[in-house]
Structure formats: C-alpha cells, structure tokens
C-alpha cells in the first residue's frame, strides 16, 4: 500500500517537478495536483490523499484558509506545507492548524521530502532544518524582547527625571516645549514599563532600578 500524495500549488511546473522527483519512490505515489483552493476542495471531496503538499500563496483561497478547512473536514488528511517563504509569521500561522504536521521549503531535496512524507504519514511531525532553526531563533527573540520591556527612550528618561524632581505634567510640557498631550503619552508609557500605578511607587521603583539620580 503506497502513500497517496496530492499537491496544491498554482505553478504547474512545480507540481510536475515534485511528481518527477517522486517518480522512482516505490512506496509513494502522487495521485493528483490542484492549481488552486477551489479545485483542491472539490478534488479531495472525491479522492482522499494520505498526505497533502500545500503551498501558501495561491490564487483565491490562501494556504492557511485551506489548512483550516481541511483540518476541520478531513481529519484523516495530513498536510505538509511546501512553500518558498520561510517567514516566521507564516511558519507559526500554518503550524497552528491541527493537521499541518510538516513545513518544508521548496529547495528541499528528494530524500528530505520522502522522509518528511513518511514521518508525517505515520503520525509524526517534520520541520526542515532551516524551519526548525527559524522557530528557535524567533522564540529566543520573543523572550529577549519581553525582557527589553524596561528600556526607556531618551525622552522618557528626561521626563522620568522631571517627574522625580516633582514637576507636574503642565510644567514638564513647558520645560521641554512639548504639548500636554505628548507629556501624558510619555507618562503612560513610563508607568506601563515600570509596572506601577502611582507616582510615589514610580519614584521608588526608578530609584531601585537606578534609572535616575535623586
């Protein structure tokens, strides 16, 4: 029993290329290829592939919409995203769908593609090396940006200093030649970054963190 594969890609050349690539693979078989979402949905309602190779950018319905529909309606079809974008947004967006079990770039070679199909077919998950690295980097970045939350801008530092020096917003506006609204806007940002509600708490925290001089 060979693994039945369907391809959804608007480039006939690519669909053909994949088919050629898998021609000599004895245990898998490309049974259909669809140039857009409409024909894909019509086709799989008749013939179910085991594994669907899905592109993201297609005319009409995009890959994410299709992945959502297929996960909902055909829980038995496993999907591998085969696309040319390695943007982390697309990676995360596609992997959130239940049946999307793989993500590969279109410069993936034959052996990797075959491995991915087999693993996904048997219930596993497969991410290309570049994709896995991209996810890891992004997680690191996300973590770091959370920690960066306490950084103050130059202007915010000036205003924080003035607040600690007991100036009101109106006074600060006059000193810095800013509008009252702008000063309020900065205040809001500072309070939010230091996670405080009252001016007294703000002063205490700023001193604790050594952000200003008394």
């Amino acid at each position: 029993m060979s693994i039945k594969i369907a391809i959804a890609d608007d480039h006939s050349l690519i669909a053909e290329g994949i088919k050629n690539m898998l021609r000599y693979s004895s245990d898998m078989e490309v049974i259909a290829s669809y140039p857009n979402g409409a024909t894909l949905l019509a086709g799989i309602s008749l013939i179910r592939p085991d594994v669907l190779l899905l592109d993201i950018a297609m005319p009409g319905r995009q890959g994410d919409e299709l992945a959502a529909i297929i996960s909902e309606q055909y829980p038995e079809i496993k999907m591998i995203v085969l696309t040319s974008t390695d943007n982390i947004f697309h990676i995360r967006n596609m992997l959130q769908y239940k049946n999307v079990a793989g993500y590969l770039l279109k410069d993936t070679g034959k052996e990797t593609l075959e491995d991915a199909i087999k693993i996904v077919y048997h219930g596993g998950q497969y991410l290309g090396t570049a994709i896995a690295r991209r996810i890891r980097e992004d997680e690191e970045n996300l973590q770091r940006q959370k920690e960066a939350g306490r950084l103050l801008t130059k202007r915010e530092k000036e205003i924080l200093q003035l607040i600690i020096d007991n100036h009101t917003s109106a006074e600060i506006a006059e000193i810095l030649h800013l509008s009252r609204r702008t000063v309020e806007h900065h205040r809001e940002s500072i309070f939010s970054k230091l996670d405080v509600k009252k001016t007294s708490a703000l002063v205490k925290k700023a001193l604790e963190l050594n952000l200003v001089q008394r």
Binding site: D10, H11, S12, L13, I14, A15, E16, G17, I18, K19, N20, M21, Y24, E29, V30, I31, A32, S33, Y34, P35, A42, G43, L46, I47, A57, S84, T85, D86, N87, I88, F89, N93, L105, K106, D107, G109, K110, E137, D138, N141, L142, R144, Q145, A148, G149, L151, T153, K154, R155, R181, T182, E184, H185, E188, S189, S192, K193
Partner: protein
Amino acid sequence: MSGAVHLSFFSLRIRLFSRGVIYAIWSMIISGSPASAQQFHNLTMLPEHFFSIASEDTAYVHKLLGSAGYYLPLHSDSALFLYEQAKQLSFRIPYPDGICVALNGISRFYADRGDQTKALAYLREAEVYCKNAFFRARSLTVSWYQSMAIPHTYSGRNDSAVWYLYRSLEFARSLKDTASMLAAYNLLGTVWIHNKDLNNAIRYLEKGEQLALQKPYTDDLALISNNLAIAYGNLGDSTRMLHSLQRAATYARISGNKRQQQKALLNLADYYLKGQQPAEALRHLQEGLSFTKEENHTLRFEFYYGLSNAWHQLGHFRKARTYGLAAEACISGKQLHTFSKAYFFEEQARICDALGDRAGAYHYQKLYTALSDSLNRTSRKGEIDRLETMYRLAEHEKEIAHKEKELLFNAAKIRNRNIWIITISIGALGITAFLFGLYRNSRRRMLLLRQQKEIDELKAMISGEEKERNRIAIDLHDHVGGLLSAAFYNLERIKEENNDMEHSHAFRKIKSLIGEVQYEIRNTAHNLMPDILIHHSLPEAVRIYCADMERDAALRIDVQIQGQFDNLHQDFQLSLYRIIQELVQNILKHAEATHVYVQLHASSTLVSLTVEDNGKGFDPEQATTQGRGLLNIQGRITIMNGRLSLDTNPGKGTSIYIEFDLND
C-alpha cells in the same frame, strides 16, 4: 444502363442524408478517431496541471470507456453494457470524469435508438459531473456541449443544436483547445448540411480545414474532407466533391483512420458509378473491402452492394449476382431500413431479370416496393421537419433583429438623457465653482489649497508606490520564485538519473546558487509586501522585521510595543511599518550603530514611534546623508498628520520621535 445511374446517384444521397450526419457526429465524438475524440476517451492523456489517478480502478474505467466507444457504432448493446459498468464503477470510486464520459456515451446510445428524451435526460445528469470533472473539467465541458447537439440534431431542433455548438466553439476557443474547436467546426458543418444550408456548412468546414492544416491533424482533415464532399455533392459541384473525397482518402490513409477511409472510398466508388466508370469504382471498392472487418456487416453490405453495381455496369451479371448475394447475407435478419437497402433490392431485381431469373426478379421487386413506400413516408416527414426548423430559425433571426433594433433605440434614448444630465450638471458645477471662487478669494485660502494639493499628490505617489511594490513582490515571489523552484526540482531529477552528477563541482555550485537566489527573492519580496503580516498584526510584523534585520546585520535591535493597533486604518499601519523600515535601513547604512531601540506606543489619543541608535549621530544643521534619509520620511509623516522631532549630535547617537494625532 440509365437504371444504374439513377441508382448510384441515390445511393450517394442516401449516405449524405440518412447516415451522413449520424456517421459524422459519431465518428467525431464516439469512435475515438480524430484528435478531439481521442482526448475524450483517452483520459490518461491529461493536460498540464493534472496527473492521472494511477490507481487500477480508474485505469479499468478508461479501458471500459475505450471499448464502449469502439463498440458503439458496431454493437450498440455491448457498448451500453460497458458504459453502464464504467458508470457504476466511477460512482463507486468516485470519479466524475468517468461518470461524465459514461453518461455521454449512454446518452448517445439512446439518441441513436431514437429516444431523444432519454438521451437528453442522461446528458442533463452528466452536466454536473462534466462541469466539475476532477481532471479535465474544461475540455469535458466542451465535449458535453457537443454531445448536447446530437439529440437536438436527431429530433430536428437544429437551432438548439447550433446554439450548443457555438457555445462549445467559444469555450474551446477560449481554452485554445484546437482539437475541440475542430470537432465543433465539423459538427456545425454537419448540422448545417442536415439543414441543407450548404454554404454555411462549407464555410465552417473550411474554417476547420484551415485550423487542421496548421498542425496538421490528418485525422480531422480526413473527416472534414469527407464532410466537405457531402456539402459539395449536395450543391451539385461534383469536381470539388471528387477532390475532397480524394483528399479524404489520402488523409485517412496517412492517419490510419479506417472508418474515414471506408467512407471516402465508398463515396468515391459512388461517384465513379454515377459517372459510368465502373472500373475505377471497382478499384476503390476492393481497396475498401480488403480492410473492412468481418463483423462490420453494415459496411460490408455497402461494399458488396457497390461491387454488385459495378459488375452490373460492366455487364458481368453473374458476378454482379454473386456480390449481391454476399451483400444480402450481410443484412439478413438485421433491422436496416435505409434507402440503400431499397435500391439494393431494386437492383437485384434487375440483375435477376437480366439473368432470366423471373422468380428472383419478382421477389426483389416486391421487397423494394414495400420498403420504398415506408421510406418515402419517413422521408416526407423528415422534409416537413426540416421546413419547420428552417421556419423556426428564420423567426428566431427576425426576433434577434427586432431585439437589436430595440437595443439601438434604447441606447439612443439613454444618450439623449445623458446629454441632458451632463448639461445640467455642468451648469450646476459652473455656478458652484463661481460661488466657491468668490468665497475663497483670498491669499490665505489659496495657500491652503496649494498645500492640500501637495498632500494629495504625495498621497497618490505613495499609494502608487505601494501598488508598484506589491506588483513587483508578487512577480518576484510567484513567478521568478516559482520558476526557480521548478529549475531546482529538475536538477534533482538530473541527479536521480545520473548518479555521478552529485560529485560534479559545477552541479553542486548551480544548486547552491539557486538556493541563494531563492533566499534573496524571499527576503526582497517580503520586504516589498508585508501587508499580509500587517493585516494580522502590526506589532508582530514590526518585531519579525527587526528580528530579520538583526539576523542579517551584526546589530542588536530591541523592540518595545505598547497599546492596541488593531483599530488603526490599514493604510496607516502600513505607513507606520514603512517608516520603521526606512529608519532602520537608514541606521544600517549610515549610523555605524551597534544597538537600536524601536518603540511603538498607542494611547487613546496619540500614536508614537521612537527609534534610537547608539551610532555616530550627525549635525542636524548640515546636509548629511543620514539627514537626507529622514527627508524621505517627512513626506509620509505630513500626510499622516504627524510631527517628527530629532535629537542628535555628532558622536552622541540619534533619537527620532514621531507622533501622530488620532483625532481624525
């Protein structure tokens, strides 16, 4: 010998009318000989985008359909059985392409049986499967339209038949599907012949001929030439008919299309019999008979009958009688009500008479009389049907002409009304402009207007720029990127076919080059078109952009985003993103910084953006490249109703603060 002339003349007409249409249509769609028909049955030959479902079930369906198509003109009952099998199997798989072709075939079985209601019912059922076919929806739809023409032609509704054929022609033309276009031209030709509108028939057939010659499709050319011959024959242009028949025979011989070759040879023989050239006729008949299969009784009857006729003309009555008996053996026990059969009996009566066989002569004369009476009745009815159809077509054309006139009249009325509307509008606009001018006639107002104009121009420029970026991004990503991927897969395939390729330095180099270009295109396209991201979340888009930049350049970018951005206008969000992009690029190019801080903050009344770096800074009073970069952003900020403030000095880094009001 005048009897023989009369006889062969009729036998030609017989093939032209009672069977001409049926044969032509069949041989085109069912028999599977010309290019279009081959495609129709041979479902494994699929156009690009599609692959065959290589499972055994569908292959079996194809086999069933292929045999059914072959048997339909010969043993229609077997064909029906095969079509039913194919239909049931296709429903079980399920396989709409198979269902479509099977239902078309069943319909044609009934059409041929004279049950046009049933034929149409099957086609109605087929419609949805053909139009939503799995692999070949477009070309099966073209075929479906052509099939629809058949029961309509049979039941004398030529106008409907022509309508369906025009639809199929239009459709095939839009698909640039030459094979289907050829089929449509041919069918139109046959329907016009059926309707005795020979000039129209010739016009369409010649169009088909031109098209078929380009390739050349010899198979279709054979069919077209045969049909042209019928049309010329009916026009009484025997020279052109002869040439067409000769061409048909040649084309059929080249393409190996037996059916068309038989048809051409039979009609050529008829022509020579009519022209008292029995020796020529004999040659063609013998050629035809030599490759006509034993089980094809109808055709063998025609050839034997022709041979009998030829020997009759040559005065060899005994030989004529022998072939006559052979012909009769072919049709014994078969329901074959044709003029050929009637005239065959009449001729046998004459031959028996010449041989002195009175009893035989009487026997055949009786058969002839009985058959020709009933046929004359049918033919009279056919003639009445034809006149009715012609009347209907004439009425239809009159109606179209009437409607066109009405449309012209309405258009004129609308034009008149539009002139009035335009006149009044221009008048009203003129008065408004005058009052407006009076009202605004001050220097200050003029200045404001000029500023507004500048802003509008900027807006238009930026929006045009966005569109252009979008177009380039799509071109790059979809088209160039797609081609590159295809090239990559083909390389993989080369590797598969030549094992030593993997060790070739050049091969590996090409592969890595393709990979690099793919990477560049991905990045460029994404930078040009971030709108999908922004559509989902601007903060996420900004964070990801900065992370990408950080990875590509040796630089640390911290991002801090506060507040809600979802409610901001899409264009506004995109502009914010572009400003961040330009500021970060500016820093990368000029600032020599190691650390960048990007902060976006949305409160209820304001949105602010701060971008700071620890680079070399610059003197804002001097025209530096870094300062000039900021000028590009200034235009955008103005139309977004924002203000920019800059805090920088040489050696002190740069801090840019941009603020937008959210009031309007």
